[in-house]
Structure formats: C-alpha cells, structure tokens
C-alpha cells in the first residue's frame, strides 16, 4: 500500500479555509439568490459606552422590553425604567452632526437601519418622537447647547425657559 496522503484531512482543511472566507464576507454583505445586501452597522452613541443590556440581548429582546415597558408607563406611570423608548432615542440619537434631521423613514435612522434589513415594519414612530431632539432644533432654541446632544428632559426644560422669554 503506497504512502499517499489521505484525502480526508485535506478536505477538512479546504473546508475550513472556505468557511473562514465566507464568514468574513458575511461581515459586510449577506448574499442570497436575489442579490446581496449590506449588513447594517448602526452607529454607536458617543455619549455612552454600553447599552442597558448586552448587545446580544438587546438585538433579540429589545421589542419585548419595550412592549412591557409601554404598558407599565401608560397604565402605571412608570417612567424611570431603563427600558424606555425615550431613553433609546436619547442615546441612539440619529440627529447628524451637520444638523440634518434624520427621521425614521430615512434608512440612516438607528432603528430603521436594522428594521429594513430584517423586513420589520413597526409603527412606534407614527406617534413617538423618532429622535432625541436634533441639533438644529436645539441650536435654534438654545444656542449655548449647540456643542452636544442633550437628553429630551433637559431639552424640554430649556424649551420651557426659552418660551417664557
């Protein structure tokens, strides 16, 4: 019996190389029979280092947190929970540095980015504010706060004060 290389290890190495290639490609683009789509990479907030839960949990469970929270807020007045939609929009504020308003129908919106990719249709933002308040709104009303984003609560107090003038 000749001492030729057994084909199985070679096949396994080839498979591993092929797999690693496809995985690294999937980081950027998801392919299907209908073409390829860029995988969303929603921008991280610049004013917080971590979310209220680990990213893996938030990806799968954020809708459950929000659904529970909406009833607790409307029926029982619980507004200081870490799972508030307002809290989401305060951190993941889609207002851009150039003052441009990014509303939910815009694919650059933090929520819209993934929802478009996953073909999810929500109607949260037909009623709810789809962003913390934009830089342009802030700079119009409160010039001294133009340098950074503020939470909606802070903004609101500023808005009240500016209205009194």
């Amino acid at each position: 019996m000749s001492k030729s290389l057994h084909p199985l290890p070679i096949l396994m190495i080839a498979l591993l190389v092929w797999l690693s290639c496809t995985v690294s490609a999937a980081d950027e683009v998801a392919s299907s029979g209908f073409g390829s789509v860029a995988i969303p990479r929603p921008a991280k907030p610049d004013n917080a280092s971590e979310c209220v839960e680990p990213v893996e949990v938030m990806r799968r469970e954020h809708m459950k947190f929000l659904l529970h929270q909406r009833d607790a807020t409307v029926l029982e007045g619980e507004r200081d929970s870490k799972y508030s939609l307002t809290g989401c929009m305060d951190c993941h504020n889609p207002a851009r540095n150039d003052g441009q308003v990014v509303r939910y129908p815009d694919p650059r919106h933090f929520c819209a980015d993934c929802h478009r990719y996953a073909s999810v249709k929500i109607d949260c933002f037909e009623c709810h504010a789809d962003r913390g308040l934009s830089r342009s709104q802030q700079s119009r009303l409160i010039p001294e706060l133009n340098t950074g984003l503020v939470s909606s609560q802070t903004f609101h107090r500023q808005l009240e004060r500016s209205g009194e003038d």
Binding site: D71, V74, L75, E76, G77, E126, C127
Partner: protein
Amino acid sequence: MKTELERVEPRPARRRFLQGAAALASTLIAPGVLLYISSHATETATKSPRWGLLIDTNAMSEADVDACVQACKREHGWQSRAGSKTDAQWIRKVGLSDPQSGHRRFLPMMCQHCENPPCVDVCPTGASFKRADGIVLVNRHICIGCRYCMMACPYKARSFIHEPLQDQLPVAPRGKGTVESCTLCVHRIDRDGADAVPACAEAVNQGGRSAIVFGDLNDSDSEIVKRLRKHGGTKLRADMGLNPALRYQGL
C-alpha cells in the same frame, strides 16, 4: 417621587355598592324599621392620591387663559388653526358673559378628570381609562379611533387626530387615528409627584400668584384642599354626578 398606584376597578359603581353595603351598620330600632349608619365617609381618605386642579377664575384675565392654552401647546406640541373644528384641542378658552351687567369672564376648559368618566364607560377597547390616581387618559396603543368617547364627554374635552404627524415631542406621543385630551401633564406628575406643576398652572402662576392650584384632593393638608375648604369650588355640571377633579372658583 414615585407614586404608588393600584389597579383601577373596572366597575366602580358595582364595587362602591358592595363596599357601601359592607360599610353599613344596621340597628333594629323597631319591628321592620332599621337604622343604618354609614361609615363610608371615613373610608374616602385613602393612601392613593387623587390629583386635581383648582382654577380661580377671579384671578384670571383673558390673557391668562390664552397663556394657559399657549403653554399647553408648547408643552405637548399640538397646534390648532383658528376656526378649525377638527384640530387638536387639549385645552380651550371659554368666555361667559352676563348680558344684563355686561360682566365677562374667561376660563380654561379641558378634561375634567372625572371620578366616573363617561368616556371610560363607552370605550369599546378599554383604551380610555382612569389611572389609580384619578387621571383619565387614552391608551393610544389600543385606541381604535372610534370617537365614542368624544361624543360621551359632556365637556367636549377630547379631539381626534385626522392627519399624519411628525416631529412629536418625546413627552407627548400623538398620532393619526387616535383620540387625545388633557393629561394633567402626567409626565410631570410621574416625575415630581405632589410637587408637580402642570404647564397651564406654571404659565399663570407667575409672580407669586396662584390662580391654578394643583394638588391631591385626598390629602386634607394639601393646598388645594385647604383652599376648597375655605372658599369652596364649583364642579362643572355637578348635576351629572361625574365628580370631576377640576374645580372652579368665581363662576
């Protein structure tokens, strides 16, 4: 401050009847004649607050009422075009005049946050509801926009959103196809409790005045109860027995 809230009993009338029956102490004073002594009055003071407003119309000019309306618009981000019958109307100015003397008076009119709200009775989905602390709200997550509540409300306090909106404020979600009304600035109440000041009160209580007083009607030491005890207050359409949480002075 966080308020401790309890679930609202869905059928208050029945519950009150049962409580009343339990609270009655009966004494047989003659064959067939019973003397009933009700202890109901001592039970009305509960731990749960009941938020209300006292509006002193003697202290309010027409401009003050306009300021209330403007403050509400700014707080919640609603607009109303002049003459439109379908625009949002969380609060409006009502003028009263006496044709004989020519005396005129203005008052802000909004949701009266009734103890027995007809809008809650008629709502087919349970969207119109009363919180445990007495604030009457619309749960827009389950409102189907049928507008029964608008017809049931004797104060015409509610309005319907006919057109799609954008750029709502974070504290006041509002959207097409749902009914809305005064929330008593519930976002401020949830944040500040008894120290909260609704936007309309904040607008008129400038310079040490207190034309609109916010407070807990169940707390005998609160400012609102003290002022009511001293000067009284009118419930609008008290004949209907809705027991509104808004009281007016000077009408």
